[in-house]
């Protein structure tokens, strides 16, 4: 089983600033982590590789410091890692990102499975996983909540949708995007951290993956951020602090009145 896990480095908190002129996130000065939702994909990949033997490769695209995310994935247990990093990748939207990642995956060679997190907590689009599948012409299953079976030619998974759970069988190779239910991420071990420190993480640029410049970065991105604003939270709530049962009853009546005004009672 040869598994690729595309991961993204994201800011630690949701307190990040944006450059009002370019609409690009200012990442400096904010601690960076592996996108929390990617940890479930890493864990699911590790479990599959442990179950049937195999290799797991963490693949990321980002600034040079995103190497730390790749090393952390190795510390968790991934066999190896690759970082796509070059200024020409900067400003990529999900179309250009999935294109660059798909070229890197092609260059790396044969594989059985690509496991992605459902979405990243910063961009919050969930578009890169399906995008990779489209570029590579592979079947895709999104919102996978459990991998039920993984044979040599197909994988059987549970998919969480609005109405319940589907069971789907997908031919390999394919792309899966997993939700939190799929696995409980492990912490890096001391040995894993030592291995991660010693590992060589190749850094690939556009020439390494044979990427045409016009399809990369901001230039290759069909979408443009034109404006960014911080919405003011204009809620001026009425907060009651009842001191006795009678006041509690009045506060509850206040809720009932509120519901009634909304036509919900």
């Amino acid at each position: 089983m040869d598994i690729i896990v595309p991961i993204k480095q994201v800011p630690e908190t949701s307190k990040v600033r944006m450059d009002p002129n370019t609409g690009v996130m200012i990442r400096e000065g904010v601690e960076s982590i592996i996108n929390p939702l990617d940890l479930y994909a890493i864990e699911a990949a590790l479990q599959l590789a442990e179950g049937c033997g195999g290799r797991t490769t963490a693949l990321s695209m980002g600034p040079a410091k995103a190497e730390a995310a790749v090393r952390e994935a190795i510390a968790m247990g991934c066999t190896e890692g690759v970082l796509l990093s070059h200024r020409s990748f900067a400003g990529s939207d999900t179309w250009a990102t999935s294109f660059a990642l798909s070229l890197a995956i092609r260059k790396r060679g044969a594989f059985d499975l690509i496991l992605c997190g459902e979405r990243a907590t910063d961009g919050d689009t969930g578009q890169v996983g399906p995008g990779i599948a489209a570029w590579l012409g592979l079947p895709v299953v999104t919102y996978v909540s459990r991998i039920l079976e993984c044979g040599p030619r197909a994988v059987v998974v549970r998919r969480m949708i609005e109405e319940g759970y589907e069971t789907l069988e997908a031919e390999l190779p394919c792309v899966l995007t997993v939700v939190k239910e799929a696995a409980y991420p492990r912490l890096p071990t001391l040995r894993g951290k030592q291995r991660a420190r010693a590992a060589t993480v190749p850094v690939w640029g556009p020439e390494d993956i044979g990427a045409p410049a016009e399809s990369l970065g901001l230039k290759g991105s069909p979408t443009r951020v034109v404006k960014v604003e911080s919405p003011s939270l204009a809620r001026h709530g009425d907060v009651r602090t009842p001191k006795d049962p009678a006041e509690l009853e009045r506060a509850v009546d206040g809720i009932v009145d509120y519901l009634e005004r909304l036509g919900l009672t």
Partner: protein, 350 residues
């Protein structure tokens, strides 16, 4: 696989991607039509609804009554359930043949899977999970407005060169228009080349959600609870209130991680982002991650024992109280009202 980008001038018309389940046209389709109608009127262009899979005639006509000028229907049984390959192959085929200027879908599990596939197949720009769409009066371009970075910012995005301009739209971010029985429109039934219907993913089984959790993104009201509940069995208090309000049941990450309730119920950055008309929560302190999931709720009512809880900063109405006292009292009052309201008439509460 990739086509050269269509020149903006060659593209025209507004399309919405309608959804059906078991042949029933879903409400998200009507929400998209209301939004699409405004965009189409602003562009002076026709509005087309695309529906894949079997659906009854009345469901198709209802989309015309709700704003569509044309319905493109591909009824093939191979399209009964959403499967990424045939759905994306068929929509890409239609897009290439007819070149819409704008194409929007719901930010549902279907829309958020289909549209990124389509964006690559048709070399189109795509913006996820928009809460607002507008036409730029100067250029006629689609302005795609969405929350990002956990709802802390609103970004406006445009697609200068590639067509169609595509976006997924958060469910419940727009009300459907009331049906107009006099509206005229055309239903066009299409067949597609069979090779477009191939799928390497097969649906083996389906298990409906066991309770109110699955649909919290569609629910008008969501009642949620967190660590303040103290134990999983106490979710019964929440469920009873939810029943009285016809609401979905949500939960904080804390409650889900403790195994009190399933992950489909989780609201927040690592769970679901919801936009209900009313979000009622008890025993949830309101972490940044949780608030990110409810920023676009229309109204928020919060109950918490801690007067300094962050949730009160975003609540429209808050009560600093013990939820074990407040919830039963509130539920009883609502149940009593429901009973007395039901007595004289037969009108359901919808």
């Amino acid at each position: 696989m990739k086509e050269t980008a269509a020149l903006p001038a060659a593209a025209s018309g507004v399309w919405v991607f309608a959804e059906q389940r078991a042949g029933i046209v879903q409400p998200i389709s009507h929400e998209l039509l209301a939004r699409g109608r405004r965009l189409a009127d602003a562009r002076g262009a026709p509005l087309t609804s695309v529906l894949l899979g079997p659906a009854g005639d009345d469901g198709l006509r209802e989309m015309i009554r709700r704003g569509a000028d044309r319905v493109l229907h591909v009824a093939d049984p191979a399209l009964q359930d959403f499967l990424p390959e045939p759905y994306s192959a068929v929509t890409a085929h239609l897009v290439r043949e007819r070149r819409p200027d704008i194409f929007i879908a719901g930010a549902t599990t279907t829309g958020r899977t289909l549209m990124p596939l389509l964006a690559v197949l048709c070399h189109a720009g795509l913006t996820a999970d928009c809460t607002q769409l507008e036409i730029d009066p100067a250029t006629g371009e689609l302005l795609q407005i969405r929350p990002a970075i956990g709802g802390n910012i609103m970004a406006t995005i445009r697609t200068p060169l590639c067509r169609p301009q595509m976006a997924t739209v958060r469910p419940r971010s727009m009300k459907p228009a009331p049906p107009d029985p006099g509206r005229a429109g055309e239903i066009e039934r299409l067949t597609v080349p069979p090779e477009l219907l191939r799928s390497r993913v097969r649906r083996v089984a389906f298990e409906p959600a066991d309770d109110e959790g699955g649909g919290i993104q569609k629910a008008e009201v969501v009642v949620a609870a967190g660590r303040g509940l103290k134990k999983g069995a106490n979710f019964d208090l929440v469920r009873r209130l939810a029943r009285a309000l016809n609401a979905g049941v949500g939960a904080s990450r804390d409650a889900v991680d403790r195994g009190w309730i399933g992950y489909p119920h989780q609201v927040g950055l690592s769970g679901k982002t919801i936009s209900p008309r009313l979000y009622f929560c008890a025993g949830i302190s309101g972490s940044v991650q949780h608030l990110a999931g409810i920023k676009t709720a229309e109204h928020i009512i919060a109950v918490n024992l801690n007067p300094d809880a962050q949730i009160f900063k975003v609540a429209d109405y808050g009560v600093v109280a013990d939820l074990f006292e407040l919830l039963p009292l509130l539920t009883e009052k609502l149940e009593a009202r429901k009973k007395s309201a039901r007595a004289p008439g037969t009108e359901g509460s919808g």
